[in-house]
Symmetry: C2
């Protein structure tokens, strides 16, 4: 696949995570890349098209990560740890996540983008739920609420953890994500 196309996707994603979907333009992309506006339109005819591609790329990346972890025989604890690490990296880079960013702009998105976002979040919550449930059965985690509730709670902590850390202080994210582990670690 074209290296230009890849780079546009990468930059577009970064812009969504740093300035928000309605806070960036094709100009932002073309200027940084040293190409013309129309070249971006060549690969992604519309902004919606670009946004949708970014969403699908992300959903795919998640699936690959999950598949990869299972191939390597990661247990549920290790899988949760790896998932958390993605967020720790985002925090280090002063980025929020796609869910938090597009969640804010959801009413300005087109139906295909909204649907794709819902699909992605739903998939992540389902995976978290299953991982928490299986991990609890093995005694790797300890919590009493239904796994789906716990999944939503953990995801919410991570999503808004990044936002709060960017507003207040980067180090605040650590406090938030560590408290997740305190809650689910068996005594």
């Amino acid at each position: 696949m074209s290296v230009t196309r890849e780079k546009i996707l990468e930059l577009g994603e970064e812009l969504i995570l740093t300035k928000g979907y309605n806070g960036f333009s094709y100009q932002d992309i073309s200027t940084v890349m040293g190409i013309k506006n129309a070249a971006v339109h060549y690969y992604f005819p519309s902004k919606e098209n670009l946004g949708l591609s970014i969403l699908k790329t992300n959903a795919q990346r998640f699936e690959e990560m999950v598949e990869n972890m299972q191939n390597r025989g990661f247990n549920e604890w290790q899988q949760m740890e790896a998932f958390t690490k993605v967020y720790i990296k985002s925090n280090r880079e002063n980025k929020i996540c796609l869910i938090g960013s597009l969640g804010t702009d959801i009413n300005t998105l087109t139906d295909p983008m909204r649907t794709e976002l819902q699909k992605m979040v739903d998939r992540i919550v389902s995976w978290l739920e299953l991982t928490l449930q299986n991990g609890r059965e093995k005694g790797l985690f300890h919590f009493s609420m239904p796994p789906r509730e716990m999944a939503l709670r953990i995801l919410a902590s991570l999503v808004a953890g990044l936002q709060l850390a960017r507003i207040l202080n980067k180090t605040d994210f650590k406090a938030i994500h560590q408290s997740i582990w305190e809650e689910i670690t068996p005594k």
Copy 2:
């Protein structure tokens, strides 16, 4: 104070909470109100000016709520309950909160707005921290981590709870906010 000005502030806030700061324009306000674009500029010369006014109005509303609760002799449990109710109402109205919305757009805001946002969030976290600490001393709450960590954790749950609920399902917010109480209620 002018009723038109009040209405612009109200509508502006609603637009930030539904479409995001970079997702609405003065046109959105003037069209709904049946006035001209320039009339909005008459009250708020720039969009930054409007955004700043909305932030300050919100911060003031928070202070009034806290003051009011203390005048009425609310204990810490009741105060936490009242704070949570503000978020439950937002969820009912398909709105997210100012923190989550402006948190996404923070890098596109001017310094005065960023500073005001930080000030507001800092104030809320401090209040949460103090309320949790005092409540724990009285035996109203039970938790072992430092109060500030718990404050950040609760705020993160509420902020992203609204976002996740708007993406997935309104009822998911209930699961998230109820799990907060499960965590801090003494056994």
